[in-house]
Structures are given as C-alpha cells and as structure tokens.
Amino acid sequence: MTAGTEAGSPIVTAARGWGAPAAHALRMVLILIGVLVVAQSFWMVEAKPQDLITGIFGMADFIRRATPPDFSRLDAAIWPTLETVDIAIFGTFMGVIMAVPLALMAAANVTPARWVYFVARGIIGFARAVPDLVWALLFVTAVGLGPFPGGLALAVHSIGMLGRLFAETIEQMDMAPVDALTLTGARRIQIFTHAVVPSLLPSFLGISLYRLDENIRSSLVLGFVGAGGIGFQLLTYMNLFDYRKVSLYLIITFVLVLSAERFSAVLRQKLA
C-alpha cells in the first residue's frame, strides 16, 4: 500500500530515473501472479458458495441434535480429559529431555563440531517437518492403540520446535559472565551451573510452557488416529451420531484449550 503511493508520487518517480517503469511493470506482474495463485486455489478446493448455503440446514440440524449437551456423562469424560492433558505433559517433558542435548549440538556457538551441528539441525528439522498426526500414526503402528503412542508422537514432534528455539536461546546467550567466571579460576562444570544454567533456564522454561500449551491442543486431535484422549471419544460419539455427547466434549475442549493458554501465559509472565 505504502509502496504503491510512493511510486505514484512524482518526486519518487523522478528520483528513480529510468528504472521506474521497469519496477512498475515488475510490480504489476507480481500482483497478477498473486491473483492467479488465489484464484486457482478456489478452483482446486471446488469452492461452491451454494453448497455453503444449503449446508446451513445441515449445521442447524447438527446443533439442534447436539443441544443440550449431555452433562449427565460428565464424570465419564474426566478420564479422557486427564488422558489428553497427561499425553501433552508427557510429550512436552520427553520432548524437552531430548531437545536440550540436541540444542546444545545445534547451537553454532557451543557445538562440538561442524558435522554434529548439521546432523543435530537435520534431526530437529525432520522432527518438525513430519506432522504430529503422522508421528502418531507411526507410533500406533509400532506400540499399538492408546495414550502412549500419542505421548511419543508429541515428544518427537516437539523436538522440532523446542530444539530450534533452545538452540537460538543458546546462540543469543550473553557470554560475558562465562568469560568472567573463567578468569576467576572456576572449573568448567561450575561455570556451566553458575553462569550458563541461570541465564538459560528461565527462557527454556518459558519455551517449554508455550510448547505444553500447543501440545494440549495437538493432543486433542491425536485420538482421531487412535492415540487416546478426548479426540478418541469425539470420534467415537461422532460415529455413533450421539451429538449431545459430542457437544459435551467440544465444550470440554474449549475450556481446556482456553485454560491451558491462560495457565501457560500467566506462568511465562511470572518467569520473565
């Protein structure tokens, strides 16, 4: 927007000299490409507004059959809810355990060797590139149905984000206290526990809490592929057309996601 008005003003156009028309043409081409990209996506997803209008009746029917939510079975929902939260806690904890050593290897300033750096970055990138649902499918195949494969999936997928952010934190660390302690004659392990750990720990905890919040949201859908928790219940009651139970679980999901977000945000604020 700003760039457009700038190019239009005579002063700027004059200052740019003969290059201005070329830049103008380039901008038009880029805009055209942008329009084409969006347009083809509409065609590709077969977007039909009329379906959305007729679909409203389907939605209304769903809402009618889903109300009121079946709160009589709230007690039965407690266990899957706990399972969802625990899958996230387990996944985050194990993710942190694995991400810390990887991050130490993947931080340019402390990595023991160049090739270690690339291997660690590769592992972290791969863990992130494969979606958590796919990891869950893989682990369900390996260890069977239940919450355990869900926890493993989150752990491995979390390495991707945790490892990268931990490594960045290490790279941006203030090295001055480390150098100062080296000169006092402190030993390497003492320098690590007295200067490195206190500088990194609050950031690491903050990042982990943020990840826990994300993992609780991921953990909700992991059940769709048989990895336990609320997702599994949602899928089951959807298949049974028991929409009043579905709406109960949707409400639980809503409350859970919001409180996880608040909890994580408040704790992180305390740490800062």
């Binding site: 203030d174 001055a176 206290p177 150098d179 100062a180 302690l181 000169l183 006092t184 004659g185 402190a186 030993r187 392990i189 003492q190 526990t193 007295h194 200067a195 750990v197 206190p198 500088s199 720990l201 609050p202």
Partner: protein, 247 residues
C-alpha cells in the same frame, strides 16, 4: 607483587602488539596505564591473565611465573589474579549476592558448587565483600535491576570474593557517568591501600589517572613510554601519547 619482564607479543602477521614491556605493581599500589586506541594496553592485561599467550617474556605473581603454565596449573595460578572489565558481566537473573559468591568458586570443587550452590561460609564472605563496595543492602536484589555503577561495584565485589593479590581493571569506568566513574576509582584506590592489593588499571581518562594513580604508565605501539608518579609527570608527555600516533 605483580612483575612483568620483557613481555612481548607478536601477531602472526608480524605486528608487534607488545614490545619488551617491563612493569611492576607492588602491593598497596594503584598503577594506571594510559594509551590511545590500539596502543596495546588491553593486550597487556590479556597477556597477564593469559587469555592471550605472549610470544616471550615473563609474568610473575608473587613467586609464580605464569607464562609457561596451562590447564589446571594456570587455573590455580589465576586465583591470585582478579579481573574486572568495562562491562560488569553479571548473571542478570541471579541475586547480587550469588553473583558476588561466584568469585569464590575457584577455591572449591565440592559437589554442592558443581550443582550451582555455594558453601555457606562463602555467602557470608560474599556479604562482607558487598559491604566493602558499599552495597551491603542490595544482596537479595536481582543483578539485572542494578544501575551501571552499582553493577560495576558488584563485579568488583565478585573480584574481592576471589581473594586475589592482584586486581586488574580493563577500562572499568568506560561506560559509566562521571560521578559513578569517580566512585569506582575511589573504591579501587581504597582497596589497594586497605586491602593491600596490587591494582593495575587501564584507563582512557587522563584526569582520573592524575587524581588516583600512584604511578602512571604510558604505552604507545606496545612500548612503555613513561612510568612516573603523577606529580613528576608533565601533562605534555601524556598528550604526546595520543598525538604522535599518526607518525
């Protein structure tokens, strides 16, 4: 206490950063090194603490010669030498007292210190060091909340917790306002006299050097130009230190 004999450092590109430098700082004495940018004053300090390895020459602290040491022997020898620099280099997330107590770590190799703790007696001693720099009441505060002058005094307290015989200071007032700078210099002066420390301080401020030094050492192109008490040192000589550099 600190004796430097014919200390030289030649960079691989042939540039002589230090040339046959001789210097002596006795206990209870504050010696200030003046020199322009690139004159070799910081190099001198770094060769003394051995973060740079001198090409030749000797550095004696009490009865120990430092230049040939490495590894564990160097670490032990460094316990006698404390260094403060332009920036306080505190761990901002920790308390002021903990920052001071880290100065004592070199004396301990217990599991407790390896796990991030301190021997109780060192915390008491650290509180005493804080008192010496006039910040006894700030112990529980987070180091990140201090002003520049306070932080620098805490870094001096940390150096004291090391119980050194020699205190090296690399432009300790460069990032402070004039008032805080005077305070730091008064403190260094007092520590030299009362603590019987040998203090070697690199400065940019000629006026501060004249006010606080027992001796002023001039350095240019890695060579010692003068080494005199302020009273016997004409200002003209100091000015030449900075003027002649182009020649």
């Amino acid at each position: 206490m600190l004796r430097v004999r014919r200390l030289s450092l030649k960079y691989p590109n042939g540039k002589l950063a230090l040339a046959d430098f001789d210097l002596e700082v006795r206990a209870g004495e504050l010696v200030i090194v003046l020199g322009g940018n690139g004159s070799g004053k910081t190099t001198l300090l770094r060769c003394i603490v051995r973060t740079l390895a001198p090409t030749s020459g000797e550095v004696w602290v009490s009865e120990t010669q430092l230049t040939h040491l490495d590894g564990e022997k160097l670490r032990r020898a460094r316990l006698e030498l404390a260094m403060i620099s332009q920036h306080a280099a505190l761990v901002k997330r920790r308390s002021v007292l903990a920052n001071v107590a880290t100065g004592s770590l070199g004396r301990h190799d217990s599991l407790r210190t390896e796990l991030g703790g301190f021997p109780p007696e060192e915390l008491v001693a650290a509180q005493g060091c804080l008192g010496q720099v006039g910040l006894a009441e700030l112990g529980i505060q987070r180091a990140g909340t201090l002003s520049g002058g306070q932080a620098q005094r805490v870094s001096i307290a940390r150096a004291l917790a090391q119980r050194p015989r020699v205190l090296l200071a690399d432009e300790p007032v460069a990032s402070l306002d004039p008032e805080a700078a005077e305070e730091i210099m008064r403190l260094l002066r007092r520590l030299a006299v009362e603590g019987n420390l040998a203090v070697l301080c690199v400065l940019h401020q000629v006026d501060l050097a004249y006010s606080y030094a027992d001796r002023i050492v001039g350095i240019r192109d890695g060579r010692k130009i003068f080494d005199d008490p302020p009273a016997e040192l004409p200002r003209e000589a100091v000015r030449h230190l900075y003027l002649d550099r182009a020649a």
